[in-house]
Amino acid sequence: MSATAVHSLWTTASGVTAAAPGDSFTAPKIEYTQLMPVLIIVVAAVLGILVEAFVPRRARYHTQLFLTVVAVAASFAAIVGLAAGGYGTTKAQIAAMGAIAIDGPTLFLQGTILLVAMVAVFTFAERRLDPSSDGNRVDSFAAQPGAVPGGEGEKAAIRAGFTTTEVFPLLLFSVAGLLVFPAANDLLTLFIALEVFSLPLYLLCAVARRKRLMSQEAAVKYFLLGAFSSAFLLFGIALIYGYAGSLSYAAIANVVDGSVLEIDPALADTMGNDALLLIGGAMILTGLLFKVGAVPFHMWTPDVYQGAPTPVTGFMAAATKVAAFGALLRLLYVALPGLTWDLRPVMWAVAIVTMLGGAIVAITQTDIKRLLAYSSIAHAGFILAGVIAANPEGISSVLFYLLAYSFVTVGAFAVVTLVRDAGGEATHLSKWAGLGRRSPLVAAVFAVFLLAFAGIPLTSGFSGKFAVFKAAAEGGAGALVVVGVLSSAVAAFFYIRVIVLMFFSEPKADGPTVAVPSPLTMTTIAVGVAVTLVLGLAPQYFLDLASQAGVFVR
């Protein structure tokens, strides 16, 4: 038995047990303070389950909402505390026996995810938009997801005033996974985190109150394709493990750059076999690119975004992108820096087709949610350009971009929930005609978000795009920048189209009405606008934050 077992949270004892049976069990060292943000969320999620079990139905909604908000707030507070404690910069370290990295990117992204989660919770909890059925205020989630749509069971459930308050614990579980994902410092943690945040999302997709069929279809597609992609990821993990004989990023990196020299001849055909490394790396990459929705792994995005309940879409679109890009960055910069030159051409190709593909296909979309889905694809392309930059500016610019992008996204989808007609949300573009006449404020807000998406100066979208392109140019990816600006030009077209529709075309007689939301959604939208403008006008503070945070611990 060789002693190449690299210590890892999961396998500390392995080498020892083999050596001396019956030896005393050494407890793993866990830095609970650094893990506090995650732990808080997990605990709250578990509590949420208990609430579902023991709290009377009438009280559940408020209890859950309270619990969730408090948990997210507390977790965010913990993040701030850690950052203030210098864990983001000087005291950055590997925690939990190498499973989790607590460093700048982690804290920055976790903070972003939590903020997004917070505003998303508000949209989840919104109960003023739909007309109340049988005297019960209803939110965007089905009374009883299990029941057949329009069937007796559902009617009864509605009459009884059931509501799916489970969404809150599900959200929390998902958040927990998302928090771990960008922090994962070994492949197993990566995989687990991925599943932990994916599975609840699959469910959340399925529980829309209106348009259930589409919602379920979205869930199925998301689930099947997600599982499919995670299988690729896992196989990649296996191969990398076979290559490096370890799961920990640091160890893998060491093997890749050949600093581990002594190789057991017995392992000659696996250990250090580049084929394994390359294939494995490629497959992991595939899994992550699926999550960020990069062409050609993007095809789930439009359908899922369209079918899922809009609050879920907003959360998913924002948070998963943040987490997935975080994980991607860490993988490329910490585990596989040695592969930079091998993966570069592929990444270039993917970035280019993603930017162009997303922008071009979006032009002919007729459903606002699908439109935003494609725009999210195009944005994934832009962010990839920053990832490719392969320099510190690259990291920080991506972090900044994610911050900017996620708030615009949540805000935009929150606005989408407001525009409704008899059939629920009126997502078909033709229904948005003349919105600017009917309710100028909402239209103006949405216009701001669209302009941010389009990357017009003085909005966060521009700052982010500029940061990313600048980094890319400095990283020698000038060509990508040119492609980027070209596809931005194309993208601008369809954002503008929506604005034209809202402001310059006459309102339709049977057009949708704009529901007046509760303070919850208002907060979401307000925060979105505020962040968009602040990051557009005076981004300096956040750029500093990002550039301080832009260092990975090894």
Binding site: S396, R437, R438, S439, P440, L441, L451, A454, I456, P457, L458, F462, S463, F466, A467, F469, K470, A473, E474, G478, V481, V482, G484, V485, L486, S488, A489, A492, F493, I496, R497, V500, F503, F504, S505, E506, A538, P539, Q540, L543, D544, S547
Partner: protein, 523 residues
């Protein structure tokens, strides 16, 4: 740091915009007066800037510099040179007239919804544009300039698409579609140009490591900044493309006729007299200032395009059936002259080009606003729908004629001075180009006189028989502009002495000397 005069000048209209937008729906007139008040205040501040500016002094004066986005190497740097002062003045001068001329353009057709406040929005947008344009004229930081260059598209876009020409009433579906087509075309053309420029801006930063005009110029001077020829050329092209779209230069001009045709006359003035000047201004300041070698390298092509613009624009103007489109093509021809003057790279040419920007602004404003009054009266933009107006509304016809004569740059009116300077400047460097350009004066006469003859003279058409002459408000717009035209035509000195030093600086940027006359006869 002393009182930030330039910031104040730009901020005042911005504040005005917010204030105007905040006026409740019912108090429409109050909003108009508020907007006018703020624009006049801006004019006062601009006058102060003009007086505080010392022609003999530093290149950039009244400078301000604050940290902004350190990570991008961006500073909030303002400073104004002679050219900037001239255009700043032009903007501040024209906006009040635009506002007064547009007094009733944005009154809602029907007041059904109380939340919909087009009037407030309209004037707020105009002030917003003014703020951005002014700031872009005084920005000495490339990034800051770029941001404004792009951002000003949005309010313009809403002005064009949102408040179309009443010449066909708002309800008419085809008109609405045409208008939004024009607005989208305007935005996409300029956005595309701007994005290309964005790539160049980033490239510039990668090469120069700074966005500050002053720093870059200094680095250029002391040789610490070496630009590879090819790099410089690529960057130049990136910048120039954006400015050529904005200016607009043939063949990137087609958005202008649509935009000017569909927008109301005051907004059209905003486009061609003010916003487009940012493009030519930027050519002078950024293309020549940052990439002198590349500019010289590109000169033959640019001059050719400029000549094409001059002749082509004029010929198409002759072929138009729509008054506003005709003026639009005329403007394209004039922008050709401006660009010609800039790239001739002689003192006369560049002084001429700068004066041309100002004079073209004023003359076009005069012609276009009066044309607007005419169009609102008859409710049609087609030349064929007019005839004999001169008989029923002589004052309108007279002002229209003077505006037209200014457009064909009749001596004694301001545009002549600039046009002649451009021609002389071009001729002394590129005789053939000069001669070709001179043919423009004949064509100009052709389209102006054709327009005048078809609309104003001949037997009185039924449709115009009851047309009222200019009202007090409209006179208040037309007369002062004409006065300015005449004054600057006879006594352009105040302007030239501000502009000349700036031009000498630019000439030294590109390291060009004026060609010496063969016989030194001047005594």
């Amino acid at each position: 740091m002393s009182f930030p005069l330039l910031t104040a000048t730009a901020a005042l209209p911005a504040i005005g915009a917010i204030a105007t937008a905040a006026v409740p729906a019912a108090r429409r007139t109050a909003a108009k007066w508020l907007a006018l008040l703020f624009s006049l205040g801006t004019l006062v501040l601009a006058a102060v800037v003009f007086l505080r500016f010392e022609p003999g002094g530093d290149r950039y004066q009244l400078t301000e510099s604050r940290a902004w986005i350190a990570d991008f190497g961006v500073r909030y740097e303002l400073g104004v040179d002679g050219i900037g002062v001239a255009l700043l003045g032009l903007t501040a001068l024209l906006i009040p007239f635009v506002i007064v001329a547009a007094w009733h353009d944005a009154d809602p057709l029907e007041t059904k919804s109380t939340r919909w406040r087009p009037t407030q929005g309209f004037f707020a947008l105009i002030l917003m544009v003014e703020a951005m344009v002014i700031l872009s004229f005084v920005a000495t930081d490339v990034f800051l300039f770029y941001i404004l260059f792009e951002a000003m598209l949005i309010p313009m876009y809403f002005l064009i698409g949102g408040f179309g020409d009443r010449a066909h009433a708002g309800s008419d579906e085809s008109a609405a579609t045409q208008r939004s087509y024009a607005a989208v075309k305007f935005l996409l053309y300029n956005l595309a140009g701007g994005l290309i420029m964005l790539a160049a801006v980033i490239g510039l930063y990668v090469v120069a490591g700074s966005f500050s005009l002053l720093e870059i110029a200094e680095a250029r001077a002391n040789g610490s900044l070496e630009m590879a020829t090819s790099t410089e050329r690529w960057l130049f092209l990136g910048f120039f493309f954006a400015f050529a779209v904005k200016a607009p230069l043939w063949p990137l001009h087609t958005w202008l006729p649509n935009a000017m045709g569909e927008a109301t006359a005051p907004v059209a003035v905003l486009i061609t007299a003010i916003v487009d000047k940012v493009g030519t201004f930027a050519m002078l300041r950024f293309c020549l200032g940052l990439f002198p070698e590349a500019s010289k390298w590109a000169t033959p092509v640019v001059i050719t395009l400029a000549l094409i613009s001059i002749v082509y624009g004029a010929l198409l103007a002759v072929g138009q059936r729509d008054i506003k489109r005709l003026i639009a093509y005329a403007s394209i021809s004039h922008f050709g002259f401006i660009i010609l003057g800039i790239f001739a790279m002689t003192s006369q040419g560049q002084s001429g080009a700068t004066l041309y920007m100002v004079n073209h602004g004023i003359s076009t404003a005069a012609l276009l606003l009066v044309a607007g009054f005419l169009i609102t009266r008859r409710g049609s933009r087609l030349i064929a729908d007019y005839g004999g107006v001169q008989k029923v509304a002589p004052v309108l016809a007279g002002t229209f004629l003077i505006g037209g004569l200014a457009t064909l740059s009749l001596p004694g009116l301001a545009p002549f001075v600039s046009e002649f300077l451009v021609l002389v400047g071009t001729f002394s460097a590129y005789p053939v180009a000069g001669i070709i350009a001179t043919s423009g004066i004949v064509l100009a006469a052709l389209y102006v006189l054709v327009l005048y003859q078809r609309t104003m003279t001949g037997p009185v058409q039924e449709s115009v028989r009851s047309m009222p002459d200019l009202r007090a408000r409209e006179l208040a717009v037309a007369v002062p502009l004409i006065a300015v035209l005449i004054f600057l035509g006879v006594f352009p000195k105040p302007l030239t002495e501000v502009v000349n030093p700036a031009v000498e600086h630019t000439m030294s940027d590109v390291q060009k000397k004026d060609p010496q006359p063969e016989v030194e006869a001047a005594k």
